[in-house]
Amino acid sequence: MSIYVRNILRFCLIMALQVLILNKITLRWWSQPQGFPVFIPYVYPLFLLLLPFETPVWLLLMLGFVTGITMDSFANTAGIHAFVCVLIAYLRTNVLNALLPKNLSEYTNQSPNVKNMGWMPFLVYSSFLILIHHSVYFSIELWSFANIGYLLLKILASSATSILFVLAYLLLFTRQVNARG
């Protein structure tokens, strides 16, 4: 499968998953005053995280913008998702450079995945960017630090759920080559 087709398919799949299922999740354990905050997992940044290594930075930024705008029109949050997506698309190259032993240009025709990065670096990479995504997103959305404990709790709970979903995605879509051997 061509790398373009694969990424376009992945975009549609992840967006559908996010918009049609995850955005609708409302967990029911905060009904009391002073209860637990509502949280919502955002896994759609995974599309940006899984783009091929040699994608030029300007293309990453444009794709981040498009992803964000798509998400924005579904969630009625004009511009917030786009803002955060462009931010993590910009940070992605630096994080990858810091985590990988070789130069990025040496990984031709590959996307970041568990096999060529290893479990630990990949998890650090994805959780770091997802944590940044969620922190910035919820801070902009709430637009006040008056209730900082609530904000932090919301960020942490949402990021933890999102990372769980990312793990599930990885376990589902990583081909186990040496599973028997």
């Binding site: 918009v19 409302t26 009904s31 969630a75 009625n76 511009g79 803002f83 462009v86 910009y90």
Partner: protein, 287 residues
Amino acid sequence: MRNFILFIRRFFNLILFLVLEIICVVLIARTNNLQGNDIMSSANTVVGLSYKKQNDVVYYFGLKQMNDSLLNENAKLRALIALQNNTYDVIKDSNVHRALPQTDTNQKKIQYADYVYRTAKVVNNSVSAANNYITINRGSKDGVAKNMAVISGTGVVGKVVHTSAHYASILSVLSVKQKVSAKLKDGTTGYVEWEGYRPDVLVMKDVPQQVVVRKGDSVFTTSYSFFPPDVLIGRVQKVMRVKKNSLLLLYLQPGSNFRNLQYVYVVENKMMVERLMVEDSVNLKKP
């Protein structure tokens, strides 16, 4: 000039990054006052359509609860009819339906308020953001217009903020941008607002302490705002005394369950234009 081009080429990525971020900030700032979000709202056709398709599927899972709520509402309406046939409440009735003498009105019946209820189905809904929007499958072609009130069978829902031909976005009461004028059982008025955290809790601030409020008391809308009067907002769940100014702070449980809204009523007040004209002419604030 050459240096300038070199500079641009060298920092092209950074410049692109900054430009995109600035565009986003402009978008955020522009839509925060609820003006001109024509493209970027769930009322635009493509998004509305895909939400509708999704809703067509999810719709079936909620049928049971919806039947229950419809039955409840039917029961309530029947009770109301029975009540009105037996005892004719003059004061309550006059508020909505009082007709003036015919000589005043050129052979027409004039009413103080004339409400048109339109049912609409919710095709998208959220409760988790700081400003929650609801999309319904009625738009300007069905007569839905900006600033109309939206209520459900059990309580207030919100206000229409944007319409396209077949869809409309509603800013729900679960929004930090929107306060609802409210009154208690004994007529004390105030505002109900949302803190932005939990979809099951609304607050009513600054209630004078001599007002007797008990758990379970109902809070209704007033006729001051765009909502029709006497629609349930919520029931008091908890009463707290603020130590600083010894006013009461009421936590309410909203009348409508925002998590499983299926059908809502869009309420058009036909006298609103005239009322606004009068209110504007003495330079009062718009409701």
